[in-house]
Amino acid sequence: MSYPPKLSAIIELFTVLPDAEKRETLIAYADQAKSQEPRDGETFDLEDVRKDEECTDTVAIYLRLDERGGAHFRISLGPQVQTLTRAMSSILCKGLEGVSPAEILEIPADFVPKIVGAELVRLRSQTVYYLLTRIKSVSKVWLQRQRSATGDINS
């Protein structure tokens, strides 16, 4: 499957960047992580706030669907979450903007090393994958609820 257009553009950018600039760009995305948090007055269709046993801190995913069925995510991260994961939260919020939950479930995780680069992916940096897993999990739950609500239990 091809990536959603906005995510694809981000992946292409990282693919051509030399290592030093890739690092700087990741820092810039990490800087923007705060702006991806829920804002006052915003409401969501689904919220998933938890700290899994193997994670350093809380990761909260908030999903809002627009009138066309496109997903919009907000993510808040506890203070102990690694910088790389903060960068990925910004990338995913921007890259998946407006993509339907069904399409999100089909996105392969193989773009992560293309963005992060081999030097920065370490055993203890695996939460960069974890964020996509959590986003897919929220999308799946929302789809299941929709199907239950419409009686489409075989989908």
Binding site: T56, Q82, T83, L84, R122
Partner: protein, 287 residues
């Protein structure tokens, strides 16, 4: 400079306030070493250089540390001479700064210190951070003649002999890891170990017992109670400390060596990722 003059080597620690007053001292180099690989780029103590435990200190093909020539090159490009006092600090209660300090000691660099409380305390106190990466004039650090593996580093065979000889082994991992209930640190992903448990005969004394909530080291009196009164260790004991990959045990090695004055302590950096995967390695569980 230190928080407790009763430590065996009180000058092995500097406080954050001392550090703030000496940022531009000639003869010192401030070194940040973290688990979070991008944390230095997000802001660091002014003038600090970044030494990454994996990129800079480890060989990339053999599970081992860099060779003396590479260490000399690392020091040279960071403006460090054999006379430079290297002051380490970092995230995670100074795990990785103690690890980097231990590696510097492996190469015989004498003048090393830890900034007590590390990066978190510096930030908590509202002290300045910068993203400016300093550039120091390259030095001519001579390649050390050898690595002091035999003195402060233990290998599998050393740990096995220690276990069989009923000599002190300190497992500094969390209680769940020690007991064999889990094979990863609490709040961390799996790191590829096949079996859980501990080296037979090891004491389970988590590294965290040695620090306060603000990541500073406990007082000399408190540390003596933990390791000497309660555990029964003596300063001339031959001790081996281990964890999963050697970073938490570097922290305990620093405590025993520099703060309590135990001078026969070795760090088994192969630790549980070697022992727990090794064919034929005896394992004890306490479920």
């Amino acid at each position: 400079m230190s928080t407790d003059s009763n430590y065996a080597h009180p000058d092995a620690l500097v406080t954050t306030s001392w550090m703030a007053d000496h940022l531009k001292d000639p003869g010192i180099r401030i070194i940040e070493s973290n688990e979070d690989i991008l944390l230095y780029d997000m802001g660091h103590v002014p003038g600090a250089v970044h030494i990454d435990w994996q990129r800079d200190l480890q060989d990339h093909t053999i599970r081992d540390y860099i060779q003396p020539e590479a260490f000399a090159d690392l020091c040279s490009r960071n403006g460090i001479t054999p006379e430079t006092t290297c002051i380490f600090y970092g995230d995670k209660s100074n795990w990785w700064s103690c690890y980097a300090l231990w590696v510097f000691r492996l190469f015989g660099h004498e003048k090393v210190k830890i900034m007590d409380g590390g990066r978190d305390k510096w930030i908590e106190e509202g002290r300045p951070l910068t993203r400016e990466v300093p550039h120091y004039e390259k030095t001519d650090y001579p390649a050390p003649s050898m690595r002091r593996d035999a003195e402060i580093r233990a290998f599998y065979d050393d740990a096995l002999a220690q276990s069989r000889g009923n000599l002190p082994l300190i497992d500094v991992r969390s209680p769940g890891e020690f007991r064999g209930l889990v094979t990863h640190m609490p709040e961390y992903p799996q790191e590829g170990v096949l079996r859980g448990g501990h080296i037979p005969g090891a004491y389970g004394i988590p590294w965290k017992q040695a620090v306060n909530n603000d990541a500073t080291f406990k007082s000399a009196e408190e540390l003596r109670k933990i390791y000497q009164t309660d555990l029964g260790l003596k300063p001339d004991d031959q001790i081996i400390a281990y964890c999963r990959i050697g970073e938490r045990s570097s922290h305990t090695w620093f405590v025993l060596n520099y703060l309590l004055g135990f001078d026969k302590v070795r760090n088994y950096d192969g630790s549980w990722t070697e022992w727990g995967n090794r064919v034929g390695a005896p394992i004890e569980k306490s479920l």
